[in-house]
Amino acid sequence: MGVAAAGAAFSGALSAGATGQRPVAGLLAPAYEAARLMRQRRRVLLGADRPLWRGGGGTLLVAAVLMVGVVPLGNWTLADLGVGVVWVNAVDVLVWAAAWMLGWGANSAHALVGAHRYLAQALSYELPLMFALVAPAVAAGSLRVGDIVAAQSQLWFVVWMPASFALFCACVLAFSLWGPFSTGSGPDLAGGVLAELSGVDRLLVLAGRWALLAAGSAVAVALFLGGGAGPLLPAWAWSLLKTLLVMAALVVLARRLPLLRPDRLAEVGWLVGLPVALAQLLVVSLVVLGRS
């Protein structure tokens, strides 16, 4: 959560810089926004599907917490599942449902179009994401995130599977419904799934997106960047530091890109992303075969 807040503050500072204000003022922008939303009233909408609408917002934050659960922080893991990588994947699919429920529940055309945009986008990024996740698992010979971290004691996976790492990072932005992948809540749809949200409901969704970004960065660190490996500092500190760095890099990168329209993204995901992920997986498999 702290990482998520730091990321939001960092992004706020960058936005402030872009509009010509002092970056320091931007650092506090997320705090101001949170306070504003806490003071704002929730809306009771005519004809809304309330359970799905409100449930969708909460699910994002829950998904982020669940995802962090399998990531080792130093020697300590909340739940060291034997199939942690599949867990991460399953949790990311929860975001599909959450995004659609958010858009459907509000009973608004813009929100519903936004929800469908998010799902269309999900269909483009999901397969590259799956195969990007498989590569480190194959290299480590285990689906356990802890084992994958241990397998990187000699060489970080990012060194010899850069394509998987890059794809995974892009997909972290995508399943956070954020930055260039926030088409479903973009200004061209008057806010899309966010169009009808106010107060605490909106705060939950915004915080959930940041939390997912932070959780995704933490997973990227564990799978590709050697987890807690590093000199001097304890392992947990390295995990945290690397997560912050990955997140900062993602925030900077995302700000450089415009919205990636889902109709364009589909072709890129299937004709570029998927083959690249598969080719990288082939290389990894051959290396593993050669070793054994």
């Binding site: 599907d49 994947n89 399953a90 699919v93 449902a97 999901e126 109709d263 364009r264 589909a266 072709e267």
Partner: protein, 186 residues
């Protein structure tokens, strides 16, 4: 003790949300009630230490429900998708079939002589499960999966009314006249 409790909670959740699918009068709610039911089943499988099977159940079913909701609303025509509607069709036949299936399965549980566990479970259940199911047939499976995938794609291409074949005939080199450009510059 706690495991037993959790199991019962999950079991009740699965059954109740499964029943709610037929009680709700909205397609979206029915779909996601089914998703909750499947999540509960997946979590129950986790309790049986079938981690992989449990998680894949959650993964596949949530994904499927998300897409299914769209298809239901798309294909159910207009008003039924958005109006309150009954989720039950041919009530009597359906009730008969489900009661019959339940009785057969329940009879199976009671009458089948379940084997006793002879050895401790494998250390890595996921690996041994995969070994048992696939084992010697790995090569065959690897061969079949691309064929299956190609079949799915071909079926979609043939079924869709507005594909590149319909538009271009045999000449596939001409530029597509889609309302939108794709993302890789074609």
């Amino acid at each position: 003790m706690i495991t037993g409790l959790v199991f019962w909670v999950l079991g009740v959740l699965a059954v109740v949300s499964g029943a709610l699918v037929f009680r709700f009068d909205s397609m979206a709610r029915a779909t996601y009630a089914l998703a909750v039911s499947f999540i509960a089943v997946g979590a129950a499988l986790l309790l049986l230490q079938l981690d992989y099977v449990g998680l894949v159940t959650v993964l596949m079913m949530v994904m499927e429900m998300a897409v299914m909701a769209i298809y239901m609303i798309m294909f159910m025509g207009m008003n039924p998708a958005l109006m309150p509607m009954s989720m039950v069709h041919s009530r009597r036949t359906a009730l008969g079939i489900s009661a019959g299936v339940f009785l057969v399965l329940a009879a199976g549980i009671v009458t089948v002589p379940w084997p006793q566990r002879r050895a401790a479970p494998a250390a890595d259940l996921t690996a041994s499960l995969g070994e048992t199911i696939m084992g010697s047939k790995m090569l065959v499976m690897m061969g079949i999966s691309p064929v299956l995938f190609a079949t799915v794609v071909a079926a979609v291409v043939l079924a869709a009314p507005r594909t590149r074949y319909d538009r271009f005939g045999d000449d596939l080199r001409s530029a597509p006249s889609d309302p939108h450009h794709g993302g890789v510059g074609r």
